[in-house]
């Protein structure tokens, strides 16, 4: 449901591993602590790896939304390590 | 006594001077080598009078330019 106040969005469907994570990481770098990023990604490798890598960086994964078109939106709250 | 010379522990007789150590260690072109004892520079003039003590750490610092060979030695780079 519409419960998140998204600060910014990034589309990583136009790149492949490992640039998927890199692009998401760069977008997160632009945010302030506590702000929320929506990461639009493809099924398969990105959805398997990017959420895990984001968690390993110490950020909070709030929700993974499965869209009807098969893509995903990963909602992440920036958390400083 | 045990002293540390260029990172290696060595046994030498008590009272050894830095000058004597330089000779014993066969340091090449010693007049152009910078010596530190316990991380402090020692001037060339102090070498004969400075006696080393148990646990002293001695380093020899060498000039290092480049590996040129004679026909190229006036060039500007390595």
């Amino acid at each position: 449901m519409a419960e998140f106040r998204i600060t910014d969005t990034v589309d990583i469907t136009d790149v492949v591993c490992p640039v998927t994570f890199v692009k998401a990481k760069v977008a997160l770098e632009e945010l302030e602590e506590g702000e929320i990023l929506s990461i639009h990604m493809n099924d398969g490798e990105p959805v398997q790896n990017v959420p895990r890598s984001i968690k390993e960086e110490g950020h909070r994964v709030l929700k993974l939304i499965h869209n009807d078109d098969g893509t995903y939106d990963l909602i992440v709250q920036k958390t400083e390590a | 006594m045990t002293i540390v010379v260029a990172g290696e522990r060595k046994e030498y007789a008590d009272g050894l001077t830095v000058e004597e150590l330089i000779e014993a260690e066969k340091v090449e072109t010693p007049q152009y080598v910078t010596v530190t004892v316990n991380d402090t520079f020692l001037s060339n003039a102090e070498r004969a009078s400075r006696s080393l003590q148990e646990g002293d750490i001695v380093e020899f610092l060498y000039f290092m330019g480049g590996g040129t060979i004679p026909s190229l030695c006036a060039s500007n780079d390595l």
Partner: protein
């Protein structure tokens, strides 16, 4: 249907904008916590001057170009010689006879066309050094002779520029990093250049190409660390490498409170040239 989400007023956050190609090219840097997007941006804005396109300068230039250092200056008066190619890996056989700075520039741009390369096809002297180094953030000494090394040291101290000093000979190499106000300079350690032929520079000394590669890469690493702020520099320390023993050592370097150029008792106020030692055997 996409989930409806509330969006804050959208505004452009362009300061960190990388192209997808840049994200891919520099992904191995950006992934590193110690470098990250901010560190990569710093590299892309940085200006590094490499003096000497030889054994040390060659690997350093290649890695700094690959790393995306935005502006690289390369200074060398010489042309590529067949005997250079054993270690000066930025030049190729086809470059023999070309100015080294041109060959080096071509190699760097072939690796990374995004960067800017400035070439200085001239000897670095007391006349031109201050004006040249002034435009750069970090200087890398890849010269082979002591007059040049003392000149670079003095000019960098006087212009308050950080620089990496290095030397190599036979199977050995060493390097240190000077940062203004933070540690000893080269002249703290060595007061004066040795008289010609006093130490084996011009005579009977060779060097293994890979030793130049090791030390030149370490100089590039010092530049990357200085620019990004990652880790600890070789300030107040001399890193020595002995290839035959497979040994690295770090020797603490004190400051000389009487240093002729970096202490309060400074007697050197402008850069000057020592006589370039010419070799008897030439």
């Amino acid at each position: 249907m996409r989930m409806p989400v509330l969006r804050a007023a959208s505004f452009e956050r362009n300061s960190m904008a990388f192209t997808n190609e840049q994200l891919e090219r520099y992904s191995r840097h950006i992934i590193l916590k110690e470098i990250g997007p901010k560190g990569q941006k710093k590299l892309m804005k940085a200006k590094v001057l490499i003096i000497g396109a030889g054994g040390l300068g060659a690997p350093a230039a290649l890695y700094l170009a690959a790393a995306g250092v935005g502006t690289i200056g390369i200074a060398d008066a010489d042309s590529v010689d067949l005997s250079n190619l054993q270690r000066q890996v930025i030049h190729s056989t086809a470059d023999i006879g070309r100015p080294k700075v041109e060959s080096a520039r071509d190699s760097m741009l072939a690796i990374n066309p995004e960067i800017t390369v400035h070439t200085y096809h001239e000897y670095i002297t007391s006349e031109n050094i201050s004006a040249i180094i002034r435009d750069y953030d970090f200087i890398l000494d890849g010269t082979d002779n002591f007059p040049a090394k003392f000149l670079i040291n003095d000019a960098c101290v006087l212009e308050e520029k950080p620089f990496s000093h290095a030397g190599i000979i036979r199977f050995e190499g060493q390097l240190m990093t000077y940062v203004p106000g933070e540690g000893p300079c080269y002249r703290c350690v060595f007061k004066e250049p040795p008289p010609k032929d006093a130490v084996p520079t011009c005579r009977e000394a060779g060097v293994v190409g890979a030793v130049a590669g090791v030390i030149g890469c370490l100089q590039a690493m010092e530049a990357v660390k200085y620019i990004t702020g990652a880790g600890d520099l070789l300030t107040g320390r001399l890193l020595t490498y002995n290839a035959l023993r497979s040994q690295f050592r770090t020797v603490p370097l004190p400051r000389d409170s009487h240093c002729a150029v970096c202490s309060y008792e400074r007697t050197i106020h402008v850069p000057f040239d020592y006589e370039l030692p010419t070799c008897d055997l030439k």
